[in-house]
Amino acid sequence: MLKKSVLTSKSAKSFIAKAVASALTAVLLTGCSGASSSSNENEIAIGVISPTSGSEAYYGTDMVQSYQLAVDEINAAGGVLGKTLKLYPEDDGCDANMATNAASKIIASGADFVVGGYCSGATVAAMPLFHDENLLMLISAANSTEITALGFEQSFMFNSPGTHAALTLTDLCLSLGTTKAALIHQGDSYTKNLSDICEEALPKSGIEIATIQVMEKGAPDVSAIVTAVRNSGADFVYWCGYHADGSNVIKQLRQGGYEGDIAVGDGSASVELITACGSAGEGVYVTSPPFVEFAQGGDKFVEDYKAKFEVNPGNYATLCYDTMYVLKNAIEQANSTETDKVRDVIANIEYQGLSGLIKFTPERELEVSNFIVLQIEKGEFKLVEL
């Protein structure tokens, strides 16, 4: 008897009809939007994959804007090989599943090249899809070593990997006379990776690792970590995580009576950290990606960026801007938009950009570190010469 009640009632049937109709509508809607953005012959289509929604939206949006600035400049100067560049930005939401959706969308829109990549987890999820289509992917911000570990020939990492951050951090520690350092990460791919690298690198220069702590994203109370850091006798704390939680950690460390040096990694290198920390932030060091204010020729970039988007450029703005110019130069040098030819040019390119020298190792990682050290002084970042 039970069996019959499943799908037989009238209301259930009408519901099936409605469900089918709504499913069809959904399919049609998504289908149409996918087909509408096909590229034409006078255009070089560049897919951008970055998180423009969710917790990392600030960076994702900054990336899209930086690419846009470069693209507009290039197009105004006559384009590339007589063609104009056009961006197709897609949101990966810093999430693996959404990243595969975004990647398929970019592929479906007929992109010739792909730039972007902020969150390592999302980037790694999207990479195989581009790899299968033999699309060149220039990764501007994400810098986890697992990206190059995939060994995809068509992917280049434009940001210094964590190993470079550890070198810069070691230099900083040595100049400060640090003896025992505490590392705090957030347990996700990027921050754990950075912490692991530092754990390995610092003892090589005679700096002891006092403790390694994990702070869950968004945890309001970090007193357990503060106590552990104080008990460990560390005279240096390196926060490997993101700025959203970083300010909380710094404030509670200071409130908890910790008096040693504090440094934060590139995930926290944001002016928002200064605002959120307030007075507790004074004196905090940052191992930072190439902040545009401290780059040669950066003033014009900042001016143009502000004029166009009415906000200040973010941390990865110069990297993204440089990425686009490297791509442009490579296409011109290869005199082609074919993936393999452009890839070979980029593999041997030497480009002096706003973010520093862009030159790749055979593993398609940056050869020279682009990290700089900043310090918060009177509510502003100041460059520290080591």
């Binding site: 037989t8 959706n101 060994g151």
Partner: protein, 312 residues
Amino acid sequence: MGFENKRTKFAVLAALFVLAAVLPLFLDNYTLNVLWNAMFYMLLALGLNIIVGYTGLCDLGYAAKFAIGAYTTGILIKTFGWNFWLTLPVSALVSALAACVIGAPTLKLRSDYLAIVTLGFAEIVRISARNLDITGSASGINAIERPYFFGIHLTKISHWYYVFFALVIVFIIISKRIRYSRFGRALAFIREDEDAAQAMGVNTTLFKLYAYIAGAVLGGITGSFYAVKMTSISPGSFDFTQSANILLAVILGGMGKIPGVIVGAAFFAIFPELFRDVPFVGNMRMLFFGLLLIVVMINRPQGLWPEKPVKR
């Protein structure tokens, strides 16, 4: 009386089947990936439905079951070089064992306590995965090789569309078989009135454990397929949000009702994507999604397509 209705039902199902089977011929990769995502959530929702919908247990840690399957397959392929298809039974077994370990001592508890235990278990699984070397710690397992199926290398999204389509059908059949078996009726009894069920001689703890295992095995199998489709898995994919998402799909669709659960999962996966291209609104799509959820829950507290109460 049943004949005509049965015929209508058959016709609708056949039409749906044919539609779903030919769709890849007309759609681009993006749409297929969205549909794949929808089917992926359908599988998870169907698995969780056995625990939440059929038995009325509150499970806030379903992502753990699916993580166990994904990691089992990932580790066996990457570290031990196994063939993907051989990892499936192992994955099912490991999921079942994990469900026993967590279920046996805790299923005596009533639902709200169980919710906390499952939540805790999910966190244990995720944090272990993040810190163990064999699970690749925070980076997870990358570059998992994609399997062959009778000589076809499953690399294209259309391949995965069909694989998951077949899985959805298998899961529906399993769900239906469970629902209308003696086992399923016992589960419904437990859900409706656990004390009465016990008084009537139903071994409630044992049946709850079976249901828990069944749900975990389905989740584990889904996780295995997820691992090879994505080729990379990391602890971030199995956090509490994921568990909440799956539970949401089940509750939104209608607990215990297979078509309801499927509609819920599809809605959940497709809705946010519909807004991807809408300017301004695009970045606020989750806000709209949240509002819509509230509206649905106020107007249809039993879900979009709930199960009819059994006539007495």
